[in-house]
Symmetry: C2
Subunit: 339 residues, 2 copies
Amino acid sequence: MEKFLTDQSHKRFNILTREWVLVSPHRTKRPWQGKQESLPAMDRPSYDPACYLCPGNERASGDVNPDYEDVFFFENDFAALKSQVEEQKFEDGLLRAETESGICKVICFSPDHSKSLADMSIDGIDKVVKMWQREYRDLGNQDHINYVQIFENKGEVMGCSNPHPHGQIWSQSSLPNEVVKKDRSQRSYFEKHKKSMLGEYLEQEQAYNDRIIYENEAFIVLIPFWAVWPYEAMIVPKTHQTNILEIPTAETSLFADAISRLTKAYDKLFDCSFPYSSGIHQAPTDGKDHSHWHWHMSFYPPLLRSATVKKFMVGYEMFASPQRDITAESAAEILRDLF
Amino acid sequence: MEKFLTDQSHKRFNILTREWVLVSPHRTKRPWQGKQESLPAMDRPSYDPACYLCPGNERASGDVNPDYEDVFFFENDFAALKSQVEEQKFEDGLLRAETESGICKVICFSPDHSKSLADMSIDGIDKVVKMWQREYRDLGNQDHINYVQIFENKGEVMGCSNPHPHGQIWSQSSLPNEVVKKDRSQRSYFEKHKKSMLGEYLEQEQAYNDRIIYENEAFIVLIPFWAVWPYEAMIVPKTHQTNILEIPTAETSLFADAISRLTKAYDKLFDCSFPYSSGIHQAPTDGKDHSHWHWHMSFYPPLLRSATVKKFMVGYEMFASPQRDITAESAAEILRDLF
Ligand SMILES: O=P(O)(O)O[C@H]1O[C@H](CO)[C@@H](O)[C@H](O)[C@H]1O
Ligand SMILES: O=P(O)(O)O[C@H]1O[C@H](CO)[C@@H](O)[C@H](O)[C@H]1O
């Protein structure tokens, strides 16, 4: 690789969002006198009577959770999106707004309050994958749902308000910003080359082999060339699949394996239950042709130097562009050793 | 205003970035059991011998700060951007990178370690404004500097590593993502209407008058219709100015007045030294025609409910689109009362 990519300020292009990230490889020696995060308690009981996600407990809505044995979902009691009867638009000169209708669900990964994906068995994670598939299908089949966003906020530092292992699904009537960007870039590549852009990208990554951290028969785990967060990673199916329903039945456990390996490696990195937000980007469910989509799952973990020092995406990052200090290649090298 | 804007999930369009924000007005009742921020100490001494920004103290570089009396700047000792001799590009299939050259400066607002902009006199802030003007001009005049990003990270929770009142300027050779977006939207409006888009927007806001929180002879302070952060605000000059050098000499103190009023109101909101990132977006310094630009200063404060509970822009926000609970109009109403 070009030398400037390892030792000089440069920007890298994200082929999916078509935005740039600023990389400053020389800046890792910067001293840190700033905020230190407090570590959440590591020893949680398997059942917490005060947790509204544990089996048998009551939620804010008054509903009581069943004695579930593996995965369990319910509609978010404080949903940011609701199914709305009437579509409305407001447009007055430069002011524009539209109603947004949707369904928000909470997905419990396990009845065991003490676990995270990193501690669960492949089989347990496979059940989560299958629940994601069902939800993507069932939500997507509803008329007013055109996009299904599956995500997880893990750890207090990622705004997670309950340590019980869970993720969320917010599904909605219109395509959100990030999805619109990735839709455009993949479509225009596919129209021109008649091939999946991410598929082609994976081939290049396999040739370079310096950002791939793990692969099994069906999935590749890598630090994308344009990674923003210090240890950002991406799980991508090797074959061209537009959404998670296209994972061959025999391969959902290989997706679970990739998630398991990555989250375990993360936990080892700074010897803590590693916080992150993760999300799956896949084809919209608006009934249109989406052969250009190649679904992928991304992990955005905030920690930079230790379990208590995170990267802040603030002033420059908010007003100009994301910025990182360690390169994608050195992050990959560090993570690969922990697999 | 349409009723759905006050009580139903909807999205609003940001005319500058051309992206949407999801608004969920009904969601403010959501309980919070998540992370509480710790409050930084409020009583700081006017001089801290351990602070590398106080007058007379030594910095990491070994340089000693002068006994400055109002504002003071120096080149960042751990700059994310450096002036580079050779421009280089890397392009291999889907991998693209380019060297990025630049100059990063730290701007001390006051020698007094205990102050923030909210505690400073209008005259003191006016000196900061004049320093921003000089830096915008001098940095912008350099051949390899095509954009000058002025910003401040205030408060530990915004990744600020030193409470001494200071901001930063990162200037660089290419236009960062956010600036490219705002450049495009303003240019296309200006070409079509031969008028400043923000100027027109201000007129609409003055007619509605429910998002404006303060105005003096030259500036308007408002919560933009498309605000993302709970108490996000914007300071906009009433006349069409492309960059801060075009502020009439007699009016820099009115800009200082607007900053002073807003930061004071912020401090009152949750009775704390209110954290935020702020930044000025203005015309690039690449020598091209930028008559379409209308400069503005934005404040992105993270606090949501109290001095210790912030809004987290995580899973859904990172993967889909920003989301807020309280509407711009109710935030404006609350802030207006504190002016
Ligand atoms: O330059 P500072 O104050 O040390 O660092 C802070 O601001 C920078 C610019 O927004 C960010 O890149 C850092 O993550 C943040 O901690
Ligand atoms: O839904 P939760 O877990 O209560 O809330 C968390 O995730 C949401 C979706 O990313 C965010 O909007 C909230 O700011 C965050 O605290």
